[in-house]
């Protein structure tokens, strides 16, 4: 039963990793940008929630609501001003640009909020520590279940958006062939900006969950980026949006099972699974399906 408990904990942890990886997968699937500032953007979202909670006695789940439009706007402006220009210069320049952005965000957060480690666990109330004791050896944490539930809802909503709306179809078309997308009347730059806006807003939600379930500091971003990146790679490198959630779950389960063998193996076992997937000829859980299709987010 201990193993079952580990797998359940891993799945809920994977929900968090999937949520964190969602925006990264969307940006990579659409623009082939690896956003090295993605973790820092998540942490920035956590700090914005933290800032609101300093002036407003409410739950982080309420405080995130006004943060979301701010992050949507930030993502849109970020794409139109910084990333759009760097995209025109090849694949390496966006990588360097987002690396620089990551350092800028970290330093601005340190200047604004000090290097102190913080948490939003107390602000979230009992849900941060509550759990359901299913059996004597199996318990499910409330925040873990909530994170997983929110991740599934966000992935399902994004899937629906991509497959059922004109804006979503435009995103899929642009992901596959941006030049032809322009030729059929799609403003690919606006599509990219909308996608980055969504990615940044979802990263902020992930940042809020990070701040509730754990601690965060201005320099927490790169650690989160590694897990998000591993989830995207395990899931099939943006060839499928759902792959990011599946990859997150595999990573989470690998970490909890590793921890069960030896607590020191937790992070290491996740990295090993990532390396195994990377080295495998298939190169990702949903890559086979994705490889049969053309470039871009396969829906």
């Amino acid at each position: 039963m201990t193993w079952v408990n580990d797998i359940v904990q891993g799945v809920t942890l994977g929900g968090f990793y999937g949520l964190l990886a969602c925006g990264l997968a969307l940006m990579f699937g659409l623009m082939r940008i690896i956003n090295l500032a993605h973790g820092d953007i998540a942490v920035l979202g956590a700090y914005l929630v933290f800032l609101l909670l300093e002036h407003w006695n409410t739950s982080p789940f309420v405080a995130i609501l006004p943060v979301l439009p701010v992050m949507l706007l930030l993502g849109y402006v970020l794409q139109r001003t910084l990333l759009e220009r760097s995209l025109r210069s090849g694949l390496l320049v966006p990588l360097l640009t987002t690396f620089g952005l990551s350092i800028v965000i970290q330093n601005l957060l340190e200047q604004g909020f000090s290097p102190d480690v913080r948490s939003l666990g107390q602000n979230a109330g009992s849900i941060a520590t509550a759990s359901w004791q299913v059996t004597s050896k199996l318990s499910i944490s409330a925040i873990g279940a909530l994170t997983l539930g929110v991740a599934v809802i966000i992935f399902a909503a994004l899937q629906r958006f991509l497959s059922r709306t004109q804006a979503g179809r435009q995103m899929r078309a642009t992901a596959q062939d941006p030049d032809t997308a322009e030729l059929v009347g799609i403003d690919s730059r606006a599509v990219y900006a909308r996608a980055t806006a969504i990615a940044v807003a979802v990263a902020a939600i992930a940042g809020m969950f990070l701040a509730i379930r754990s601690t965060f500091s201005p320099y927490a971003g790169p650690d989160d980026l590694i897990f998000a990146f591993e989830a995207v790679v395990i899931g099939g490198l943006g060839s499928s949006l759902w792959g990011a959630l599946l990859g997150g779950i595999v990573l989470g389960v690998a970490q909890t099972i590793g921890a069960q063998i030896n607590p020191e193996y937790s992070i290491l076992s996740g990295h090993l699974v990532f390396l195994l997937v990377l080295a495998s000829p298939r190169g990702g859980l949903l890559t086979l399906r994705g490889a049969r299709r053309a470039r871009g987010v396969a829906i």
């Binding site: 179809r169 899929r172 596959q176 062939d177 032809t180 059929v184 690919s188």
Partner: protein, 240 residues
């Protein structure tokens, strides 16, 4: 006023001069065939008219508006649609999605998904099939439909018969006849001279980036066009 007016257009691929100072006018409702050997500059010219290739010189005026520096999606919104060489459908999307994604809310008109499926009957049963699984002829019909759904005033067709079986070419040209009968203005790039001349009112022949022959389709002999096509001789009275 002409629907399309091109003045001294120059187009480059890096250092290579692909199109050298060509001028062209297109009247509303006219079908013009642009013929020429591989590398003559036809596709580059079409892509420039569609906003996908930035000219290094000259001007393109569409319906009285200078569109020389406009991006491709802006040209579509103004009423110019290109069927690119090689179809270039979005393979992950279904046929219907390929049509819908190109629909322009601000350009209502005769063409919508239903009217297109009527005009291209072979697409009806493939409506929900992914575009990547279609045959060449089916893909070409879908590509023409995708260009038409924005209800363009000018339709640019690049090598619609390329790589297709003769029966598929017949089907595509039969559908094109419907489009032409509906009053569309078309600039058609075609390697198949017989096909091109059969649907066009005017023929323009390109060689090494220049127009070397221009005239009414009914007045040009096949020998004249073939000679100009291969650069065997330069007929007198040809525009630069």
């Amino acid at each position: 006023m002409s629907l399309l007016s091109v003045e001294n257009l120059e187009l480059r691929h890096g250092l290579l001069e692909a199109v050298r100072g060509v001028s062209l006018t297109l009247e509303q409702g006219q079908t013009v065939a642009l013929v020429g050997a591989n590398g003559a500059g036809k596709t580059t010219l079409l892509r420039a008219l569609a906003g996908a290739h930035r000219p290094s010189g000259g001007t393109i005026t569409f319906d009285g508006v200078d569109i020389t520096r406009r991006r491709a999606h802006e040209c579509v919104r103004m009423g110019i649609s290109l069927v690119p060489e090689g179809r270039r459908l979005f393979g992950n999307l279904t046929v219907e999605e390929n049509l819908l994604v190109a629909a322009q809310r601000k350009r209502p008109g005769h063409w919508n998904v239903e009217t297109l499926l009527e005009a291209f009957p072979l697409l009806q049963r493939l409506r929900h099939q992914r575009a990547a699984t279609l045959s060449g002829g089916e893909q070409q019909a879908a590509a023409i439909g995708r260009a038409l759904i924005s209800n363009p005033r000018l339709l640019l067709l690049d090598e619609v018969s390329l790589g297709l079986a003769p029966l598929a070419v017949d089907a595509v040209y039969s559908s094109l006849a419907t489009v032409i009968a509906a009053g569309a203005t078309i600039l058609l790039v075609e390697q198949d001279l017989t096909r091109a001349v059969s649907v066009a009112q005017r023929v323009v022949c390109m060689l090494e980036g220049r127009f070397v022959l221009e005239g009414r389709a009914a007045e040009l002999s096949r020998e004249q066009i073939t000679d100009a096509y291969f650069g065997l001789q330069r007929p007198a009275g040809v525009g630069a």
